[in-house]
Symmetry: C2
Subunit: 416 residues, 2 copies
């Protein structure tokens, strides 16, 4: 049976052009990028080129791109890295430019009491790669505000404004939500944070808060220029944009002081140790380049398909609830709840008919808990438990969607 | 010019059989291993198979294999993970079997004072991926003993025995040193640690210390059976055994309680979050299988080549110092110091003649500091500064070594 894959928010296949770009780096240009000899230099050059490519695409400088093993690690580095730098524990292996400023009396090394001086703002519907680190910091004494999200899945910048305090070290808001695809007003939040910092110019904390966004889902469809967005830290990974899994980057604006969490050989400007994964970095840069160059045409192609699907489905099955704003969402994202059904059951039934989609975040689908994202919208557990995420991709056609529409309504009718 | 690559301890090219094994997983079996549908199940199955393959090779159970992004991350997870679990901060995303036991009053959540209750033993010549985390913990109040190493580059188990205390939570000793290739008596150390734990059976800390070994360099040449070695934690990565870079595992013996350091979706038994990198795991398992099946024949082939090279070189240039035990070292490792020269200069001159080798650890070669490994042997800074590491691999021939011998003595003569 021909399969229809509609879980592109979970992961995407690797683009053949990306596979091709990686090919020379397995056994030919395979050297350790830290080696002083030709094989090392060639690897280092390729890594540098990947960094330049990515930097250009987001309006950054190459040394602001820190390669990591993926989105989760980048998010962790942003959250833990900011918190730890604020705590003033100087990283063992970071280089001069990135070292924590140790203003005595202000950033003391210490435990719970010192942590309690600091504050983090995030939202209730962030990815677990941001939420769990925040919860961990909370246990260690940090203050964390988990902002409510509007019923439409959009964070209100006014809420962030009201929550800012002089001791706020980090604001982390995702660019587009991974389950419902709603697009957050990042540029607007960026502006108000900048204003807040300026108004605090006389405080020793005037460089805070840093602004982080997880842009993994957005990278295929939206403009990621860090200056337009006004972000200091930004997460992007390969696995959602037809690049390889196992690679991502954290953009770290110059002057943003974060501490590494993986220590060793001091690679990646001292912020992420470990032999550089040149092959994956090259593939990732290629995938990102393609994704950004095709993002407008893909958006133009997918938006009407998305709206067509939602409209048809609503017509066929009026009880369906669309989760998240109908328009301010990624062009490839459809997230619905079907009251009276279980999301997992639907996924399994659709799978039997050749259709792959999910209940929400693949990353937590092992746990079978109701979606924390749908709950954050103020929905009931029933709605959260019956959510279904359909995320289109480059190969998705209208015919495939019609097949899904027919089968989905058929299954729901059988179920009722 | 044909190149002679002799820095296999830094990294190896990917074996064509490994590249082949990974091929179906880029664009065909590409699903997210956490997905509930066919594409996800196929990926999960492949990942599970990779875990089984690796587990069998080291005498472990599949759920004891935690995939990571490489050797550095695995080492960090072993050191920080043990320390944090001991500190009693329960990990946010770990599953029941792996959760920290919270004996009130014994593992309190806390800062510097609590950390001071704990003790770690390691050696002065470990990889920076172990040393830097230990130094970081020291800054936070942990007690760390950095053991002296014998002049022959072998750790004396008696030294470890003498350093053990009831509050020792971790002993970390590498299996084979990455610069000088000396092989450590891991099984012997494993036995004495087990004895020590038994003798402490009445203490609440009787499950400590955990025993960790970094086996990245050993994986291509030595027996890695975790039961024979008596280790609780073991690091292996792909990039040193003709597998892909960007993947490794940490073996975690059942009952060994460590805390994750990358939090999110709860993958890898709750010990390492992030979308599973199935392609790399499959390639890594294949590379490890090949490396272990060929390790005896490769050892038999390389040992005489190593001894031939050292003997010839000593004959040609008597002032050369061999670093590390002449026989208790990896069959592919030659590490010499050439008094009166600079290691980096030699690397560059050899490179110009088509030969790739290094001064020591590629991971710190950016820093141009004298090798901490050679210094740990009790050698002078001059000897440490003039070290040259030549590490052979599967393609290394006697002809190539003769070419290196001629050129090396030629360069040294020119230099003198």
């Amino acid at each position: 049976m021909k399969r229809i894959y509609l879980d592109h928010a979970a992961t995407t296949p690797v683009d053949p052009r990306v596979e091709e770009a990686m090919r020379p780096f397995w056994a030919d240009v395979f050297g350790n990028a830290s080696g002083l000899y030709e094989e090392g230099r060639r690897a280092k050059e390729a890594l540098g080129q990947a960094r330049v490519t990515i930097a250009k695409l987001i309006g950054a400088k190459p040394d602001e791109i820190i390669f990591t093993s993926g989105g989760t690690e980048s998010d962790n580095l942003a959250v833990f890295g900011s918190a730890r730098a604020a705590m003033g524990t100087p990283p063992s292996s970071s280089k001069p430019g990135f070292e924590t400023s140790k203003k005595p009396g202000f950033f003391p090394l210490g435990g719970v009491e010192e942590a309690a001086r600091f504050h983090i703002i995030t939202t209730k519907f962030e990815h677990h790669a941001v939420l769990h680190p925040c919860e961990e910091l909370e246990k260690r004494g940090f203050n964390v505000t988990y902002l409510e999200v509007g019923g439409d899945g959009i964070v209100d910048p006014e809420n962030i404004k009201r929550s800012l305090r002089p001791e706020t070290v980090l604001v982390s808001v995702m660019y587009a939500n991974n389950e419902i695809g709603t697009i957050q007003p990042i540029a607007e939040i960026g502006k108000l944070i900048k204003k807040y910092r300026i108004s605090n110019f006389s405080l020793p904390t005037s460089h805070f808060p840093y602004f982080h966004t997880d842009a993994c889902q957005a990278a295929g469809y939206l403009d990621l220029n860090v200056n337009k967005l006004g972000v200091d830290l930004m997460t992007v990974n390969g696995s959602k944009i037809y690049g390889p899994k196992g690679v991502g980057f954290l953009y770290v604006r110059r002057g943003t002081k974060i501490s590494p969490q993986i220590l060793g050989g001091g690679q990646e400007m001292g912020l992420r140790a470990g032999t550089e994964t040149v092959t994956l970095a090259v593939g990732f840069a290629k995938a990102f380049e393609i994704a950004q160059s095709e993002r407008e045409s893909e958006s133009n192609r997918l938006t009407p398909l998305r709206d067509y699907f939602i409209e048809q489905l609503m017509k066929k099955i009026p009880k369906i609830v669309l989760n998240g704003h109908p328009i301010k969402r990624l062009p490839n994202n459809i997230n619905i709840s079907i009251p009276g059904t279980g999301g997992e059951e639907m996924v399994i039934r659709l799978d039997a008919r050749g259709i792959a989609c999910s209940t929400g975040s693949a990353c937590s689908s092992e746990f079978s808990e109701p979606s924390h994202v749908i709950l954050a919208l103020g929905q009931s557990r029933e709605i959260a438990n019956s959510s279904l995420r359909i995320t289109m991709g480059r190969n998705t056609t209208k015919e495939a969607l019609d097949y899904v529409l027919d089968n989905l309504s058929d299954i729901i009718k059988q179920h009722d």
